[in-house]
Structures are given as C-alpha cells and as structure tokens.
Assembly symmetry: C2
Homo-oligomer: 565 residues x 2
Amino acid sequence: MTQIRFALAQIDTCVGDLDANAAKVLDRARQAAGMDAKVVVFPEMTLTGYPIEDLALRATFRQAAWDKANALAADLAAEGLGSLFVVVGTVGTDRANDKPRNRLVVLHDGVVWAGYDKHFLPNYGVFDEFRIFSAGDRAMVLDVDGARLGVAICEDIWQEGGPVADLAGRGIDALVTINGSPYEEGKTQTRCALVQRRAAEVDAPVIYVNQVGGQDDLVFDGGSFVVDRDGALLQRSPMFMEDLACWTLDTALEHQERVRVAPDLDPDEEVYTACVLGLKDYMAKNRFTGVTLGLSGGIDSALVAAMAADAVGGENVWGISMPSMYSSDGSKDDAADLAANIGAHYDVQPIEPLFVAFQKQLELEGVAAENLQARIRGVIVMAYSNSKGLLAVATGNKSELACGYSTIYGDAVGGYAPIKDLLKTRVWELARWRNRAAAEGVGIGGLNIVGNEAGERGIPLAGGVMIPVSSIEKAPSAELRPGQKDSDSLPEYELLDQVLAAYIEHAHGRADLLADGFDERTVDTVMRLVDRAEWKRRQYPLGPKVTALAFGRDRRLPITTAFRE
Amino acid sequence: MTQIRFALAQIDTCVGDLDANAAKVLDRARQAAGMDAKVVVFPEMTLTGYPIEDLALRATFRQAAWDKANALAADLAAEGLGSLFVVVGTVGTDRANDKPRNRLVVLHDGVVWAGYDKHFLPNYGVFDEFRIFSAGDRAMVLDVDGARLGVAICEDIWQEGGPVADLAGRGIDALVTINGSPYEEGKTQTRCALVQRRAAEVDAPVIYVNQVGGQDDLVFDGGSFVVDRDGALLQRSPMFMEDLACWTLDTALEHQERVRVAPDLDPDEEVYTACVLGLKDYMAKNRFTGVTLGLSGGIDSALVAAMAADAVGGENVWGISMPSMYSSDGSKDDAADLAANIGAHYDVQPIEPLFVAFQKQLELEGVAAENLQARIRGVIVMAYSNSKGLLAVATGNKSELACGYSTIYGDAVGGYAPIKDLLKTRVWELARWRNRAAAEGVGIGGLNIVGNEAGERGIPLAGGVMIPVSSIEKAPSAELRPGQKDSDSLPEYELLDQVLAAYIEHAHGRADLLADGFDERTVDTVMRLVDRAEWKRRQYPLGPKVTALAFGRDRRLPITTAFRE
C-alpha cells in the first residue's frame, strides 16, 4: 500500500520567459512541499511557455531551456526539495534530426530525470505542433515509492491509440497528464467526459493539470481536475486563476477520496472572465500598464472599456470621445457616463475640424467619406497610444467584423481586440450580466488572481462598473451619416447571429443553411456580406480577422479565391 | 518501342476559381492536341489552385472540385480529346476520415481516371499541408500505350523514400511530377540538382511541371523542365510566364533528345520580375486594375512605382506626393520626375495643414509627432484607394521593416507590399538594373505573358521607365524631422543588411554573428533593433511582417516572449 500526495500546480506561464517560469515552479514546489506533496505537476511546456510556435526552432532557445531545466533541478535540491518529483514541460531536441520535441521531464534529486515526448502533435484549428515538433514514440511509466505513474501530454489523451492505449495494459496506478488546452465555451464538460473515458481505459485515476492565463491570442482556462477510475470527479480547481491544489492517491483503495470541486460558473461570467483575462495577460506579458480606446457611446466600446477596467483598473483606461457632426447628444452622454462609472480618464476630441481639413483637399463622398471619419479616429487613438505608452484596443465584435461593417485602419486600429470573438447578441448579454454582477456584488472587490483564499472566481471585478442602460437598449448605429442604423445594412442581429454561427462556426453551406430553416433572402444576404468581407479582409491582410473558434486564430484561407457556393 | 509526346502545360491558376482553371486546362489540352501530344501535364492542384489552405476543409468546395473534374473529362471527350491523357491536380477526400487529399488525377476517355495522393505533406516555412491533408500511401504507375509512367506530387521528390523509392524498383519509362514550388533565389539550380538525383534513382527521365504566377503572398516561377536518366537537361520552359512546351519520350532510346532550354536570367532581372509578377497577379486575382502609393522621392517608393508601371502600366498608377514642412525640394522634384517617367497620375497633397489641425488638438512631440505625419499620409493613400477603387501598396523594404523603421497604420498601409522581402541594398541594385534595362531596351515592349512567341522573358517591361539617379544616390531619409537621416538610427545599410541576412535568414545567434566577423557593437545594435521591432510588431499583430524566406510568409513566433539571447 502506497499513498502519494499530488500537488496540481495550475500556473500562468509566459512564452520565452525561462527565468520567470522557472522561478514560479520553484515557488510552487516550495508551497507544495509545505503541503506534504510528493509529486508536483505543472502544465504543458512549463519552462518555455505555450504555445511557443517557431521559437522552438531556434537552437539557442532550446539550449537555454535545457540549461534552465538543469539549473532548476539543482536549485530545488539546494533548497532541500530534491526528494520531490517535479513534473514540468519543456522543449527537447530529437537527436536523430535536430528537430524540437514537446517534452515532459521530472526534476528530482538535483537532476533532470526521465523524459517523455508528446506523441500526437495537433495541427488543426489554433494548433501548429506537427509543423514544429517531431513526435515521441514510446510511453513512459514513472515509479514513485512503488506507485506506477503513467504520463501523457495534452493531445495524447484526445486521440485513440498511442501512449495511453499502451499504458492501458501496464497496470498503472494513476495517469498524469500535463496540458495547454485553450478555452472554448463548453470545454469543461468535453474535457471531463474525455478524461473519464481514459480513466476507464487505463483503469486508474487521471490527474489533469491545465495551464491558465492569456497567451497572445489564446486564453487558457485552467480548471485542472482529478477523475477516479470509475469516472467520479474527485477534485477540480477553479477556472481563470492560478491555483495549487492537493490530492492523495491511495493505491490500496478501489475508489479514491473526493477533495474539492470548484463550482461551475455562469456561462456569461465564464465568457466575460475569459475576455478580461485575455486582455489582462496580453497587457502584462507585453508590459503595457494602460489602455486607450475610442468611446462612442455604443455597446461595443462600453463593454470593452468595462473589461479593461476589470483587467487593469479604471484609472489605467484612457477613453476618448471623438464626436463628429453626426454624433447624437445621447451617444456623447452615454460615453461620458460610462467613463465616469468605470473611473477612466476621459477626453473629448471632436473630429469635425480634422474632417473638414481633409475634405478641403480630398472632397470624398459616400463610403470613402465615412471611412475617413473612422480613420481620423484611428489616428487619434494611436496618438494617445504613442504619446502615453498605452495599448490601443479595438472594439469590433464578431458580427460586424464578419460582415465587413468596420473600417481598416479606422475603428479596427489596435493591438488587441477583446470582443472580436463575440457575436453582437452575446455582447448585449455580457453587458447585462456585468450590470447584474455590479448590482449584486458578484465577484466585486478583493479577490486575488493568485491563490484561492477568497473565493473561486478568477478575476476580481472592479467596483462600481455600470454600463449605461441606453448603450444596451438603443438601436446600434455607426453614426457615420445622418440617421444611419446598422439595420440599414445588416439583418437584425438576432437573426444575423444565428446565420453567422451556422455559416462560420459550423461551416454550413448554402443548402445546409436553408435546411436549418433560414429564409433564402437572409441566407444569400449574409453569405454575400461574409464572403465579400473575407475577400476584402484578405486583400488587406493586415486587417482584423474573424475566427471560427471562439478565442482562436483566424481560419487560414487563401487571399485570392473565386469560389462561391 | 513506344514514342510518347508530352506537353508541359505551365499555367497560372487562381485559388478557388474552378471554372477558370478548368477552362484553361481545356484550352491547353486543345493546343497540345494540335501539337500531337498524347499526355498533357499540368501543375499541382490545377483545378483548385494552390495553395488552397483551409479552403480544402470545406466539404462543399471539395464536392464542387470533384464535379468540375468530371465535367471537364466529359467536355474533353465531347471535343474529341478523349484519347489524351490529361494529368491534373485537384483536391480529393480520404474516405476513412473525411479529410482532404492533395490528389493527381488523369482525365481520359471522358472520365476521371486513376488517382494518386501526395505522400509527403510539407509543413515548414510557407507550407501548411500536413495541417490540411491526409497523406496518400501508395505509388501509382500509369500505362500509356505500353509506356510505364510513374507519378509524384512536388514534396514527394524532395524527401527520401516514399513513392519515388517505391517506383525505383519498378522499371518505369518516365517519372511525371506535378508541382507548386514557390520562387526563391537560386531555386532553379536546387530543383535541377534534385531532379537529376531522382532521375538516377528511378533510372528514367523525369518530367517536372511547375505552376507559374503570383498567388496571395507567394510567387511561383514556372521553369518546368525535363531531365534525362543521366542528368542531361533536355527541355526547360522560361520562368515567370505561362508556357506550353512539348517533349517526346522514345522508350527505345537510352538517351533522349534535347529540345529547348530557356536561358538563365540575370539574378537582378529574376528578382525584379518575381516582384512584378507577384504584384500583377495579386491585382488580377483580386480584381484590382489600378494602384496608389505615396511617392516620397526616395528609392523605395520609386522602385515600387516602377514595378507597378511594369505590372499594370503607368496609366494605372496613382502616385501621391505628400510633402511636409520637412520635405526637401529635391525629394519633391524626384517624386515628380519619377511619376512623369513612368506616365503615372500624379497629385500633390501637402500634409502640413492637416498636421497643424491635428497638433492644435493633440500637441504631440517626438516619435508620436513623427508617426502622426506618416499616419496622415496613410489616411490620404487609403482615401485614394477607397474613392477610386485602387489597391494601396506599401513601399517598405525588409531592412527597415526588420529594424522597426516604419509606422504602423502610416507608411505600412497597404494591401500588398512588393518589396517587403528585399533588403535595402538589393533595392538599390534592382533600381540600377531597371535603369540599365531601360537604357539597353532589355525586355521592353511587346512580350506577352501568355505564350512564348517573342522571347523568353516573363514580363514585358514598360517603355521609358527611369528611376531618377538622385533617388538612388542620395542618403536615405524618412524626412520626419529637420535634417533626419536613416543613418542617425541605423548602421549603414551595407553593413546592416549583412547582419540582417545572417540573423534573420540564417537564424545565426549572437555567438554565430560574432564568429561571422561582425563587431560586437553592431551585432548588439542590430539584435536589439530587430528584437524590439519583432516585439512591437507582435504587439500589433495587424502590422507588416518580416519574412525569413524571400517571398514567404512571416516566421511564426509568439507575440509575447521574453527570450533574449
């Protein structure tokens, strides 16, 4: 009979920051030792950060990562932590062909122990691993005080066969899997069901540790967990925050003990928090402390401003009202109210004098004149960004980006676009949720993203944030000409978003969309808008992208295509 | 004894344009039949265009491509061309897992014949095929009048083993390979040496047909050829133009007859033509007939304007001089001279009044004020683009983009950047070459890109194009403040470009660069500039990219990385 205490170290790493990542491992190992843990499990590619993309191809980087793993093992031993088994991910090198490998190593007794290389290299959606890594080809079982621990890295458990199937016959006592699994709506359930299947396959509990935090255009949600061989959920860490949880394996027991299961989040809270965490980490990892954005009085910029206030505090948000001759008084008031509610800096920069100066030379008409207004605003936002060192954030939502209802180099200006993956109807839902949270005090105040003392929510919400009701309720308008409404150019958003979800997310073709019950005129309108926007966007490859996956990268499509269904 | 006459149909396809691609196949098949050909060979993925990226994942597209292949086979037969063996590439579906396949089919006797699926799926540099396709697993030999023809698709001949090794033991009479091989400097020689090795391996002549033309951010150079079993070059089509060449295999002969070998191009002519063809096809495939760009009087915009005039004619180029208070008279004169030389439309749009209007509100200083000038110019260029339906082209070169000497949403504005892969020293060389070509009449006048009647050059150069000598010879300056010179911020370009080539193209680390003989101060300056520019560019992912490969996509690096050598 053996008892092994595991610590699930759900941390937020930074790609390329070997020093900081290693320091975090050392810190959590210390804490875990204080909690009597024997095995400390970190996420996929802990030391290098994930996803490292082509950075793995630089030999100098791989050498530096290897040196860091060795130094960390020595540091652990020097602190008296050499008896721990510290399971971390890093990059290795395939000696046969000098290609990188996605590797799991165990730091123990002052040295870098047994390595396991990821077998299945995902190369779909947001993943590019087969491009970068060569694949491992054998399973590994780690002996810890007589307990037999199988290991796997992320995709290894998503595919049939391979190392998990190999482990199934070997009588392991537990399967440890380290992951960098990005957030999508509903993925908590998908992952749990998958791990339940694998637990049955290997006939042992499975320990699943996931990365947390934003990295570039991805958000990792954490939510690490342990499932028993019969599928019972024994432990679950909270989403969207770092966490260090312990769980003990008793090899003498047929069924293991349940420890703590973090509660499910409300779906709107989950998505809102994912957006805030993505922005917060993008800023932190790129060393921005403040953001700037245009505040139009509309719902999109209001929601983004609220998210920014929750991410970095209202005092670090510079909101700019840039009214034109077509801006309504209501819009100006709503922008000012929003800025006051979130405690943002607020400047008014009228664009009419600038518009007049350009028009004196250019005499533009129609859409070109509308785009000119948006681009003057883009210049102003970037001037704030450059002169104050602020991150410019774009406020476009997925519905308008998908339909091309946006100006390149205008409202599309920005280094990060927090709501680019949210359809317009979801934007409204999240604004309403945020106002309810403010009213009810949900998640407001002193929670800390590191640690889990004060609750199970990943991001503390800023106090007092309220989005003006008129921003939520009024008819959407770009206000680029008198009396303009979005519904002049687009179907009503309730309908539009359903068609967009089917066409973009689920890749339904024209016949599928008609079979879905959408009327022919709407289908043809939406397909024409989306195809034209894709075409325009691909002509200007520097423009914003529309993603098929929530929080994912853009679909890869050729720029030039004449294909029409 | 059998004689088989092959036609090498080197064509320019358009991704997704099934109708136009199929029509081109039909047209070339007719011509080939008129030349008594029996087998007509087209490039990789003829019907779909290449690279199709994630478009292949749409089931509706695959079905449409399959229907088109069948319709084309029927059309060929209906025209009395059913006895031809028409070898085309298209997309297929792997029945086991519903994934796309990169497929070669033979259209014959009214039906779609034997299919061969690409075995090696490149997934490095500009290639994403493993992401998209599933791999074929068997070789194919085609019997044509008793002659045994092996087939392969592009990467299949670049890797050891696989279908070519399989064919080596089978006594084939010739190997037919269809390709979508993008242009790089020196690749003609690389390809020839490779094919000579494969000819020896299969002990038979190899027929290599390559795609030609620009597609998105890639340029395909054609240069199709036939190599004998002993490595002798028997036939070579010209680069950068469509071509239909014939070559006859006589199975009774140990050594085949030499037909025609297009001459090598001057290296500067080769690169210049690649740039022009890329722009020309980008415009044609995106349905642009004119371009607009800022003319500063400097060498970059002058070279891009000359390329644009060669691509679509000076009368379709709108050059905009946008002088500021810091622009010299010389610069203004050079811009006007260049526009006159190439026969472009030429407008002067002073930016000082606009700059003053912005500064009245914003009061910017330093780099923010310099960026403001560049962004006002960006707004003007986009106003011309929108109001006249012109493609805005960016004029940045690789040296300045690599060092971050460029303004996002300013001079970086544009849908296509013709010289983004050229280091500054190469820009000067190409400008000098273009002036020599104009003086000597090289390639000027009535050549036609389709067909090969009048010569072996791919693009006709426009008459009269001369780049002002002072644009080539003066010290480079951004002219964003009084007396500014590039050399205030950057090492001299002769030195800078050598370090950039080593650091970016060859991924030399710091130690390597010192071993290359560069002095420590220069190495540290350049590494700092490039790393900082990469970091800034990754913060604004919509910005211009710097590529490691000439004419390739950007390196994939994570946005956030703290790694420094």
